[in-house]
Symmetry: C2
Subunit: 394 residues, 2 copies
Amino acid sequence: MDILTPKGFLFSAVEAAIKKPGRKDLALIYSEQEAVMAGMFTTSKVKAAPVRLGMQRLRKGKGQAIVINSGNANACTGDQGMKDAKEMTELVANGLGISPQMVNVCSTGVIGTPMPMERVRQKSPLLVDEKGKATVHDLAAAIMTTDTFPKLMSRTIDVRGKEVTITAACKGAGMICPNMATMLCFIMTDARIEATALKAALKEAVMKSFNRITVDGDMSTNDTVLAMANGMAGNTLITERSQAFKSFTQALAEITYELGKMIVRDGEGATKVVDVEVKGAKTEKDAHKAAMTISNSLLVKTAIYGNDSNWGRIMGALGRAGISMKEEKVEISINGVKTVSKGLATGRDEEANEAMKTTEVKLIVDLHLGKGSAKVLTCDLTEEYIKINAEYRT
Amino acid sequence: MDILTPKGFLFSAVEAAIKKPGRKDLALIYSEQEAVMAGMFTTSKVKAAPVRLGMQRLRKGKGQAIVINSGNANACTGDQGMKDAKEMTELVANGLGISPQMVNVCSTGVIGTPMPMERVRQKSPLLVDEKGKATVHDLAAAIMTTDTFPKLMSRTIDVRGKEVTITAACKGAGMICPNMATMLCFIMTDARIEATALKAALKEAVMKSFNRITVDGDMSTNDTVLAMANGMAGNTLITERSQAFKSFTQALAEITYELGKMIVRDGEGATKVVDVEVKGAKTEKDAHKAAMTISNSLLVKTAIYGNDSNWGRIMGALGRAGISMKEEKVEISINGVKTVSKGLATGRDEEANEAMKTTEVKLIVDLHLGKGSAKVLTCDLTEEYIKINAEYRT
């Protein structure tokens, strides 16, 4: 699919050798016009300096540039880390001739190592000078760490005759390696939209996408999603009450869902994408809890890797999920083969094992208690995952 | 260490070919005198029939026999499962000439398959006839499933001049394979003790041992700990207020802790036992939550396997544990090497990596916030675990 670039967004990427030389690791997103901005951040209590700074700056709901580095997370770096994050925004702001308040910074990489500010200082003028020389593809490549492929997605919508473009670049290989695999996502759009509407749309999109994927239940200190809307499409202003708000939110949700799927597919060592759907739960919260518990169960994930429709492991996960359930009402199907009905085996395990021999597995659990439902995307767990993560630093 | 047998306990074990022929898979514990009994069971909402039956029968706090089978969990087996569990106790009770109410049943093995009752009926008379022919070692061997070694422990205490023996036989390879690796533990003692005191002692011992071990966070539908005290040591009655209650509880806690350690050491594919201690937490609950989150983090477990003192992963786990914490107060040490002080790297990672090259790893996290502390035992996560669990049924 062709990736479009929304009007007025310029990119650059340079090599600052933040962890080591050999690749572009410092990138810039710049909007020619001031943009409304919204963001969502990791809920971890251990937040990297750029995350804490971003949460402050996003309060006013506007901005014009984002500087991003890979190779160093600037996390667990104390007061110096916060000074460095601020300085990174100042260096770019000075070059661009805008206020540092209009610049955000995102970092991903090793935890606990001070930022090599000397090299960042050296390279920031070049980063600013080269704005417009890089494409959105270059941007997606520069922010990769353990990712095996760049992650981009775009959509256009029509707002009363004006074409609006939404494009997002994302990095993350399933939050399965938090020293390097923070999830960062940058959403750029030329839509004219109210800050509150952008915030609401972003929240809904993230809830239905990034908050519904899990590889190993670990969460990074740096996870960040930022959205910038510069209004250069010239459309009628989108507000929460306008008709276009729905289609905007829908497009945004589709983009983030597709990117989330790419992250799961890129999960280290993964051989299958697993779509876990729990329905018939007493509440939506219960459904989400159950889907998450199944998705994070090592036993379920290893069984899926082994093409083993081991529904006893799914029942086990449901039992300890802390939800309302009645064993005798549970129904489970795997890739369309019903293995459990009314809590009892249907005797179709062999058939299900065969149906699982594919790269996409769809697990449906129906609790037959109420109307709560939820979907979670995850992947299987393989020896390769262990290998990568046991040998990451050694 | 020599394993003692408390007075008045007789054992037998026969081959009933419950899953397949070739080993003894049906065992009996019989006390010559009626015993006071206490039990603790899985908190999973999916409880096997024997668990539900046991919870009912334990209400009166007494019993005289336990029949145990491996090869079939009698879980997710509906009404028939409950009928079968009851019949298993009746078969033994009739042979022994006691009330079925005085018999408990425990099962472990495959989920969702009806019990092969014909073979159980055939073999139950032999099981009763042979009581006294097997040793406690035979018992421990008969209840093994994926265990690689039998798990037994005993202690004696002196109660006003009378020697009291406590012995426990246990099975479990870390709850890492719930179709086969239920944790079952049978505690037998000749102590004279009040039922309420036995219950209190058991609860405390389990809280400090089996409830503090985790291999993969999964929990079985069949987990059961049963304690029988037949009073045949002839000691002064132990009550919750008597001096001997403390030493009895202490001995019981030591036994269950050692057995818990054996389960972790027997965790499938494990190469290291990991002792996670969190102290300085605001509350004990916070400490336990933090220790559990660290212990169940795939990233921490794989790093430990790789001798990698990757404290960023520990900080990451703390951040998402849902506890009170201040990053800038955290202190972490690994096998005596302090890697984090006041939330910042000490630069001693290499030294810590070296110190981890052993089969026992001691992780200490000090949150420096309060007096809450907790310990959890776990093991590392290896390719072998994936292999075993992906290939279990296929």
